[in-house]
Amino acid sequence: MPRLVLLLLPLLVMTCLPAAIAQGPAYQRGRTLSSEAVQAWDTAVGPEGKELPPGRGTAREGAQVWARRCSACHGMDGKYQWPRRAHPPSAGKAPLLAGELGVVAKRQFATTLWDYINRAMPLGEQAGTLTPSEVYAVTAYVLHLNGIIGEDDGMDANTLPQVPMPAGPRKN
């Protein structure tokens, strides 16, 4: 047996070597990134919520953040549609958040709301200034407005991905 392996060794090397080369970078451009650097750069949150940071919030806590940071455009009920004036707007009004026609009802995953609020709200120069716990609380508030979770249901990295959304993943 060992003799067979020895006989086959050159063949093994010959077949594995090109494969190994093909898998490495060929052009030596750009820099490899550490996992910490990737984490700092890439804040996208997928449906499984793997990237969600530590933190926690409830709708009750979210109401306070909402009143200060969100209600001017969305109203406390999420149905107020304040006309945007910034240049140039993508839509004439803040989107409807609550109710059957609201954007929350159309989302398939609660994690998408978290991602959206985290990177783009409050609209304007303040986007991205909410702390993770504030984002959890505001997400909980919006979910509660739509009757999806209770007022004191704590949202965090574990519970948020499990929130059953009315629009769910559509099956074909």
Binding site: Y27, G30, T32, A37, G46, P88, A91, K106, Q108, A120
Partner: protein
Amino acid sequence: MSAKEHPPRQPRRRFLKEALAAGLAAGTVRPSYGQTPAPEEARSRPEENRGYGRRSHYEVVSRWPIQPKELTPGDPLYLVYAPSRTPLQDLRGIITPNPLHYFVDASSPYPIADLNPQEHRLVVDGMVDRPMEYTLDDLKLLPSVSRICWLECTGNGGLRERNHIEFHETLQKAHGATSCAEWTGVPLSLLLQEAGVRQGASWIYAEGNEHARRAKSFQLEKGMEDVLVAYAQNGEAIRPENGYPVRLIVPGWSGHNSVKWLRTVKVTDRPYMAKDDLGFTQAADGTWIGEREFDPKSVIAFPSGGQKLPGPGVYELHGLAWTGGGVIRRVDVTTDGGRTWKEAQLQEPILPRAHTRFRLLWTWNGEETVIESRCTDERGRTQRRLIDIREEYGDDPDHWRSSTSAGERFSGTQPWKILRDGSVHQAAYGPHMYPPPKATAALTKPTRKSPSGGGSTCLA
């Protein structure tokens, strides 16, 4: 500044040398790799000294609509929702000049992204062996590919583009959210190979660096096929509104896949549903079903709505045909409201996923008539006639669906009516709808004031 304040003109060679030295000195604005530093006079007033050319002042062709600096609640809704569209009826050949390429203001509600190419970074991460970071110069030093291909808004010709917000009499208003350019950049497949895609990966998530950081997922298979990480548009740097300094080009698919101002390409095993991803479906076995290429579509550009023929005589009728499924094989044209069809001549080059120009010589006898074009692609798929779509969905444009394409993009045929005075009119809907609608409802009047849903989703 008066002329006296200018230092006496220096010998040209010395001037160039100094400009070069100044440009390359540490701390100053350094040109991107391969870019020759411009002489100072070209930098200061390029439009005046023709260092960067401009068109004749007699030429007034323009994109539409022009968005005001600031919108007020009283402004018409088409200013709010509309992509800025290409004047297809006024262009020749297949290449859209950069200043006229359509765009959707994905930066909105912030000003269009103003990204410093020296600071911009592209990261490839997710299910890869080596997460990588590239500067624009890194990308320009990698092997490149050029592709001539069209981009088209996910909703072009769809509900919002019909008579909903503003009556769309012209080709530009009705179908102008498509353009065709030569894009140059690094194949996405090369960057993915450099990073080493891990087993089990099946999707790409791409994210832009504009203020709102829009994002879109599409299948890895498409990413390995013909997607470009582009930095050049018709030979020069990509225009800011089209994604400067680097963007994705996803040929043949709806525009919002071609993420502008690209900052992240993440390899994943499912559509990521982050931020702007919407509406993917899941098969019974759990696999995700994504979008696919657009259906074949064609429009006659001359004569088209809003134009006027000077009188009876011989005309060269021409237009554009395009498809997500490879090349256009043939275009047929009727000049008698669909009774007879003639095969049009296709202008070379006929390229996959590029606009294709067609022409047909035609003698107009001065009588009222309706003209319409219909195309077939290499997969044998033929554009659906509007009359058949009306048969299926009724005469109300609000109910029309044309295909299985993503979004509201309308792929049905586009009829134009020519009156005896030579004037050309929109005949798909409105007062000159042909054949006339069965119901006498006022179809030019919007039934709803604003389209449902949030903002526009296409990013091109």
